[in-house]
Symmetry: D2
Subunit: 249 residues, 4 copies
Amino acid sequence: MRFNISSELHYKIEAPSTIILNVHALQTASQEVVEESFSIEPHVSHEHFVSQSGDNRFVRLSTGDAKELVIRYRAHVNRTHELVPAAKLTQVAVKQMDSSVIPYLFPSRYCQSDKLSRLAWKMFGEIPDAYQKVAAISDWIFENVEYLRGSTDSQTSAFETITERAGVCRDFAHLGIAFCRALTIPARYFTGYAHQLEPPDFHACFEAYIGERWMLFDATRLAPLNGLVRIATGRDAADAAVAPIFGGV
Amino acid sequence: MRFNISSELHYKIEAPSTIILNVHALQTASQEVVEESFSIEPHVSHEHFVSQSGDNRFVRLSTGDAKELVIRYRAHVNRTHELVPAAKLTQVAVKQMDSSVIPYLFPSRYCQSDKLSRLAWKMFGEIPDAYQKVAAISDWIFENVEYLRGSTDSQTSAFETITERAGVCRDFAHLGIAFCRALTIPARYFTGYAHQLEPPDFHACFEAYIGERWMLFDATRLAPLNGLVRIATGRDAADAAVAPIFGGV
Amino acid sequence: MRFNISSELHYKIEAPSTIILNVHALQTASQEVVEESFSIEPHVSHEHFVSQSGDNRFVRLSTGDAKELVIRYRAHVNRTHELVPAAKLTQVAVKQMDSSVIPYLFPSRYCQSDKLSRLAWKMFGEIPDAYQKVAAISDWIFENVEYLRGSTDSQTSAFETITERAGVCRDFAHLGIAFCRALTIPARYFTGYAHQLEPPDFHACFEAYIGERWMLFDATRLAPLNGLVRIATGRDAADAAVAPIFGGV
Amino acid sequence: MRFNISSELHYKIEAPSTIILNVHALQTASQEVVEESFSIEPHVSHEHFVSQSGDNRFVRLSTGDAKELVIRYRAHVNRTHELVPAAKLTQVAVKQMDSSVIPYLFPSRYCQSDKLSRLAWKMFGEIPDAYQKVAAISDWIFENVEYLRGSTDSQTSAFETITERAGVCRDFAHLGIAFCRALTIPARYFTGYAHQLEPPDFHACFEAYIGERWMLFDATRLAPLNGLVRIATGRDAADAAVAPIFGGV
């Protein structure tokens, strides 16, 4: 399936800063970037680099004395989808897990799986099948957490969302990740472009490692899973934020 | 300098589990493992592997039906120490930072640098020199946080320690890391064997990335910095725990 | 029904302190203190007083230079029990609530009902009958929170217990109170002597204001409700602690 | 000194609710309400009552089917000010404290003095004089916490403010209260009309019990202390909110 994606970011800058942009579509086995363009207006010095763990494509730019910046990214992306029979998506035992996957078992800033452990086992521990387990987590979040713009901020974490029961896609993803990790299923944060999201925006979901592959789940049900173009993955939004800014406070 | 280190861990096991042990001394440019021995009694299946990011040496073992396990590790380690003039330990700008270092700028499970940002700038923001800044952080923690066994647990984080003002080496390290990251200085968690710690134990400190190298700081002042043998580094204790256990709850 | 109760508290004292003891059985319409004795050994200066709101009977004592104190309280108490038909235990509307009851609608230190609001309505909001609602809360806590000595401490609050799912009687009571208040049902903390608790100890439960009276619920199910002798009530354990101590740190 | 105060509150109502209004100036020894008017438009059923502990004057109103309400309160208030020599404002020992004051020693929803204990003693414990101690607390908050509209919400508590270092008058007051209680100085929340606040608004401060009287402190320094007309006091904003609303969620 072919996607045309585009994004435009506007910044007002108070002091010279460095921004690490995370807007480029990934190049993976199932996602081919056919053509893309990237521009910064006015032109400021920047460089492209790839994250060490994972393949996230970053742009690091220095604002210099610019007071405003407009960043545009456009791409044509081909995605292929492999249908994996659910029966194959079994739990991978820690003793057989590839070492690159193990960090996604540990708690992270916004996914305090260590605090949700007893709860996760009570709620989902008895579902024997790994795929069914993660699907049940995703369904439960959809049914029990309200999608409510403005109810959370950039410091909100899964530990709050599980009780406060409201949030946006970022919070839904963090909660899904925290539950999976609490159940010894590796899970990571996914950001991407969503095809049919209204209003169009970056979207966040989560991936669980089952059947020795990363499977995507969207607890918000806002975008069809085959309508997402991958930008980045990380342990949580701290790793995969769209554009962290480092400047004077 | 040469160190003889040894550790012995005892486990009682209720249900078959997988343990990821993190007790081996690292092999680095400044730390040579001359000789080592590792044993598990009774013998259970296990494998050695190295973490993807960083060089941590792990052992993954499956307890099988064993009810008790004794794990012993002994090593002779040579460490060399390079004296770096403090004047060279300047702050590395984000725009010049190696991409492998960038993840250590982000908040993590136990180091919520995003929540400590305003505080860190108020307390240390005006110290111009990077080495002086991190030294001031380490001194401040030593002077203002009480070393108190039993005052914290495995869920305690920097956000609590900054107010509750008590903890153990793990908490001191987390707080140091959170302050550094809040000031855009990459920082990571260090675990090692401490030469003269009483009682002898694993020790935790933190490293800050200044002058394009990782410099070690110990806010507890319990062990001389040149008496530490490195086991592992990570974003925080979630990454570099001595022995996370994955079993039925 | 007649109860013989006794308690003995032992203190080691490092610096002269003031202790506010909260161990005396209350004198109420349904609870008659027939006979009681109270002693402090060695004798130190103390005075009895009654809390302004509520009828809690306190003893305020100054340790002076005593290094150890033994406090003994014994009483014979008659309790009568009125059977109230559940049908009468209807919700009292805020607009008809006695003003003395209104403070028990607000969140308190360990009962953050403001944070549990959306959750409480999702879980129990559709149960029309007030008694059934509180009974469902109490049952849910019993079934979903594990009674686990040592899993919590004096700073643990309902906001943690709802996720961590473990605690002692104090935590069970705080969670019950938080749920009730979130549903606009006044609720308060109850401490008392439990007749058949093993090991014998002070016990904590919660009371909900329904049908214009305070009804007792014990989410731990550790003690029969008609086997409890009331010592005190308060907004939560901050108000009704057995013996807060005020001394040098 | 004579004050003319007025307030006007506008509500949009979605479902029939009960509102407990807390806008009437208090009648106290040092504050005389010479004349006042109160109106609700359209007229809905309501009643005046006084809180059990303290003298807060509430209005409880039922919105009925009204879709909008405008509430107006105007008053002429005379305030007298007694000058108390600082030397008289000594700490009151717990053993000599009036029992009505004791509840203000305990932690409350937004003032977790139990968590700030070690910090408070480190920061202010060595100041011998009680008035100087509370003044130092108030000064410290003014100098170290940024007054920043929109940085906090109705769930923010002192435990967050001490680290995040930003807030509004409510947050400044909660932090002052938490510090005082941690130092065994009773403290309570004060809401009032501020004479010269720009924009005119309700204001919140805190009172500390020293020298056997309640002394007012304003860590925001936004309003002169002798320009405040008292509406209510309470343990914290949970008790003394301007207008909690109880309706369907």
